[in-house]
Amino acid sequence: MPEAGTTSALHTVPPIALRRRVTDHVMTGVAVLTVILVLVPLFAIFAYLVYRGIGSINWAFLTQTPKPVGEAGGGMANAIVGSVFILALASVLGVPLGVGAGIYLAEYGRNRFGDGIRFTADVLNGVPSIVIGIVAYSIVVLYQKHFSATAGGVALAIMMIPTITRTTEEMLLLVPQALREAAYGLGIPRWRTTLSITLRTATSGVITGIMLAFARVAGETAPLLFTAFGNQFWNLRADQPTAALPLQIFNYAISPYDEWHRQAWAGALVLIVLIVSAVAAVRFAVRRGTFGAA
């Protein structure tokens, strides 16, 4: 123990022991180190994506279908369009259901039954995507007798619903009760209030939730493996196997051909850019719109 405290104990605080000060500094250093260790892979992944991807993207990649093994050139145009197609199918199914369930929870679900649905949505959120793929396979593919874009859309819709439900609910609850009461006071029926006042006020938040769900499923591969299945050619029929960008990246990445590896990197870059720009575009549009409460 240092002696400083004994002479004028009332006025000075004894200095902190060296061991404790060193521990303090060491632990701060450790924390900084963990941050660096976590950020390194992040930057490494983005750097590699841009570095390997940019060099491989060209006009042919964006406009042509895949070439057979051994032939140079070709691209992933059909996979890009296929992904957009499957995502559109998923949104048509998932967005109304998700938003509806969110409205139910916020406006009518302040009870045990609502809690049950809330908990189910959270549980559903944690189900592995490959398991969702199995279910979409057994409820769609087994009846249609072949792989299809619809099956892929169903799988992705199931994955979108819980996220949309929970964010919609949260956003609707943020709308002040007084706004609803004002509408009731004007004699507007409850359903009309919910749609034209509450939901409208919360639009930007609800759309942000939808985009979150969209971004999450846009890169999903596992649930598409045995639903949409992939396709080397153009297809825009909902009942036929359809190419998807993540599937194509997967198949090319595990192939033994350099040319395909190159295209896998290009595909990954396109995928990331598509996801980020879709999210950014909607956010921008929402912010520019009349509902400023972002």
Binding site: V131, S138, P246, A268, L271
Partner: protein, 313 residues
């Protein structure tokens, strides 16, 4: 037009029922998942019973199915991921909430959460072409030289291995664990910190006694949620784990997980029994992740809402 009449009574009823149906759809989806998995895994259940999860053979040609190597691979790769990810995630969370300057706080959390936005298949792509060569060229030779005596790091350093799967999983679950830990640390009352400092604690002692100890349950919840994600993660693992149904002690050896056997073999299943066996693996994966996630939600809810009773609802 009566439906939309001024009193809106009919409209209200119709609207409420429509919204209720959407809510029921959420419930129905979960029921449907359970129903389909149980129904379609039936043949395998009848053929093998509980032995299914103890058998080591996976032989579609002779219709012999045992899932033990996949269960083993899933558990080991996820545990490895947790061992790597937990200290890193907690470190990042502690740094962003307790140590770093306010200006850095936003961007740092943003960057870490950006990791969560990268699709699994892109992680896999990066792992194949960047992580695996680094492992086989530098990390694995080094580990076998220094820690080879443990038996965990022996064998040829091919890179494609259980170790690679564990590392890529760790990178993928760090954002989940660290964002939940951050959330939990932020709800620790400020006076806990002030009290510790007033007693003469250094900053680290304040964090250890005043913050981390109070947030234990919530951090545990975050870790379990990360575990849930790791158990079900498919693509990135499938791309680097080697896909061989073997149980090997060395982490340099290839393995196989429950999710990756589904990814690789489901669309090529040769018979009804093969398909049923695969779906039974899916069912097991589903049940494990459900339990893990429910547990995690319970822990996180008790901390962030401060009212344990709600978590049981």
């Amino acid at each position: 037009m009566k439906l939309l009449g001024p009193t809106g009574e009919v409209g209200d009823q119709v609207f409420k029922i429509a919204m209720l149906l959407c809510g029921l759809a959420v419930l129905g989806t979960l029921v449907l998942i359970v129903y389909e998995l149980v129904l379609r895994s039936g043949p395998s259940w009848h053929a093998f019973g509980f032995k299914f999860f103890a058998g080591r053979d996976w032989d579609p040609v002779n219709e012999k199915f045992g899932a033990l190597p996949f269960v083993y691979g899933t558990l080991v790769s996820s545990l490895l991921a947790l061992i790597i990810a937990v200290p890193l995630s907690i470190g990042v969370a502690v740094f962003t909430t307790e140590m770093c300057p306010k200006v850095l706080r936003g961007p740092l959390s943003f960057f870490v959460e950006l990791l969560a936005a990268i699709p699994s298949v892109v992680y896999g792509l990066w792992a194949i072409f960047v992580l695996v060569p680094i492992l086989s060229g530098y990390v694995e030779p080094f580990l076998s030289k220094t820690l080879g005596w443990t038996g965990l790091f022996v064998g040829p350093p091919y890179g494609i291995s259980m170790l690679a799967a564990g590392i890529i999983l760790a990178i993928m679950i760090i954002p989940i664990i660290s964002s939940i830990t951050r959330e939990v640390l932020m709800v620790v009352p400020q006076h806990q910190r002030e009290a510790a400092l007033a007693l003469g604690a250094t900053r680290w002692e304040m964090i250890r006694v005043g913050v981390l100890r109070n947030a234990r349950a919530g951090i545990m919840g975050g870790i379990i949620l990360g575990l849930g994600r790791a158990l079900g993660e498919t693509m990135a693992v499938t791309m680097v784990i080697g896909n061989r149904p073997e149980i090997a002690k060395s982490l340099f050896a290839p393995g196989y997980t429950m999710a990756s056997v589904l990814a690789n073999e489901f669309s090529e299943a040769t018979g009804d029994l093969n398909l049923a066996a695969l779906i039974e693996i899916g069912l097991a994966l589903f049940l494990v992740t459900i339990v893990v996630n429910a547990l995690a939600r319970l822990l996180v809810w008790t901390v962030t809402r401060g009212q344990p009773s709600r978590a049981n609802a």
